[in-house]
Point group: C2
Chain length 331, copies 2
Amino acid sequence: MRTRPTLEKVAARAGVSRATASRVVNGSTRVAPQIRDAVNRAVEELGYVPNQAARSLVTQRADSIALVFPEPATRVFSDDPTFAGIIRGVSLEIEEADKQLVLMLIGATGGYQRAERYATNGHVDGVVIASMHGTDPLPAILARRGVPVVCSGRPTVPSSLPYVDVDNAGGAERAVRHLMERGRRRIATIAGPQDMIAGIDRLDGYRAVLRDSDRRSIVAVGDFTRESGTTAMRQLLADDPEIDAVFVANDLMALGALTALRQAGRRVPDDVALVGFDDIPAVSYAEPPLTTVRQPTVEMGRRLARMVLDLEEKAQVTLPTELVVRESTAS
Amino acid sequence: MRTRPTLEKVAARAGVSRATASRVVNGSTRVAPQIRDAVNRAVEELGYVPNQAARSLVTQRADSIALVFPEPATRVFSDDPTFAGIIRGVSLEIEEADKQLVLMLIGATGGYQRAERYATNGHVDGVVIASMHGTDPLPAILARRGVPVVCSGRPTVPSSLPYVDVDNAGGAERAVRHLMERGRRRIATIAGPQDMIAGIDRLDGYRAVLRDSDRRSIVAVGDFTRESGTTAMRQLLADDPEIDAVFVANDLMALGALTALRQAGRRVPDDVALVGFDDIPAVSYAEPPLTTVRQPTVEMGRRLARMVLDLEEKAQVTLPTELVVRESTAS
DNA sequence: GGGGAGTGTGAGAGCGCTCTCTGGAAGAGT
DNA sequence: ACTCTTCCAGAGAGCGCTCTCACACTCCCC
């Protein structure tokens, strides 16, 4: 393999100086047309590609951003398309900006130090943290180190860090109200983990609506996995057999709950109505298709990327969610 | 934000030369213990982190590899955990080697040139192509440019490029033979796209077994999406209502087929037995749970990464698949 | 006790690029 | 015709690091 051509070679071939060649490559306007053409031709002929390392060294920019998935997220990763949506969104925006995406799935051992070290060594211009765990120390650490950080999901502890979240509470409220409108009396919930903002806010939304209508909450807690949905549903049925509706804090658990209901001989929606959250593809193919709350995952990814790339102001953003009504809540 | 400390500063603080500081940072043994300690202390105190760009510039290594998902793959991405498995595997191995993973989802517009340009500018040490499309020109282009490339999935056109594939044909054969052993007479298949090696090989496996037992093939073709599975299943039932078993080339289509069967009033497995391929989590929660062929996606990712990192010899590897029997093929 | 072998440290070049600064040519103004 | 401005190209420094080479020192053996 022959060595890759340098700017020097391009300049020599075009009969100009390295500085001029650099100007052309970087699209400066203040270059005479015929010289620009000559350089471009040389670039073409030699197949010149700028050395990013050399460029970064002098510009102090890396032209890439990191997308970090903390350990707890990686576990769900393979079964929850929510993360895929965020990746896609971030990727789309990054590509448009002609930058690179560095993906870090933080493993169990020493992943944090590794991510911290990496993010602070100038190899990335910013970090998007796809953490659903609000107690994650990484964002604050990086921010203190001067690395631009944007979080996916509002941190559980109030902070001034920029984030992009979805309207979890609002979505939950709409879902529960929808169940009430359909005439459901005993509305339970399967909540998500209470160390994640999505788990907390969705439970809050559920509680707020029930409180307003003077009903009591019936709560089981899962961990956003399908299995935990099944377990929680069984428990709910054991605790209160009269339940006629369940708001489940995510679709994966809702699918698990559906299994438990079927096994218990309850018909959906006839006996028990079911609402999920996320709108992953699988729920629209479930039997029956599940009503759920859609969250704009790709858009989330886009906003996260735009903020960290400074294409838009870093802020604390909450994107709207939308109730998608399907058969599982037919009256 | 104060400027990050350089090796120079560390050396000064430790009272040694830059060269010695470099030796310590890079873990050379030929340094006197007390000097090593002094340097390490200085590193600690200053919070020194090596500048990767500067390092890459001189070593000509990037310490990162790219994982490329061509356009057709990105479409399935969000609903098919197969890709997530590959990503995890690659990520695990990369992390162990203390390198970085650059993820490229190739978009519709100019993604190829972008990927090519990026991969050849010395920013990555190698490329893993998660292409299921064997006609993809990218691998050959990069290989010609001298970039280490490993493909996920055997290219459809014979080539000497290293790849990691799974035993698609063998898995399909085992699945179909399993259906025969369960006494099924009319075994159809829903094949995958015939421009992907997984689609081709799985159909070949199906055909081989039927040929050996002198039965005729009944084939419908899908594109690996759930919807196409439903459509193909309907078509199959219309063509030949006597069908009592279907081998489906992937799980997503199998789930789609299950929907079609249910809608047509066919019981699974009583009337029609169903086998999928991939073993995604969803099929074990389907009603009934589907028999399928498991492929080791995480292991695939690991092998891909190890090859491209030169931790093991680049070769053409085929990993075994395994039949997982569940209720959908009970006799 | 002198020459080699072995060991640890420093000096300095240079990776490929960007960017400031300077110089020269051309055009405009008096 | 001469100066002033404008514009564009080149020279050169230097980003932070690694690595070769040279050098100083200790140790050992004949």
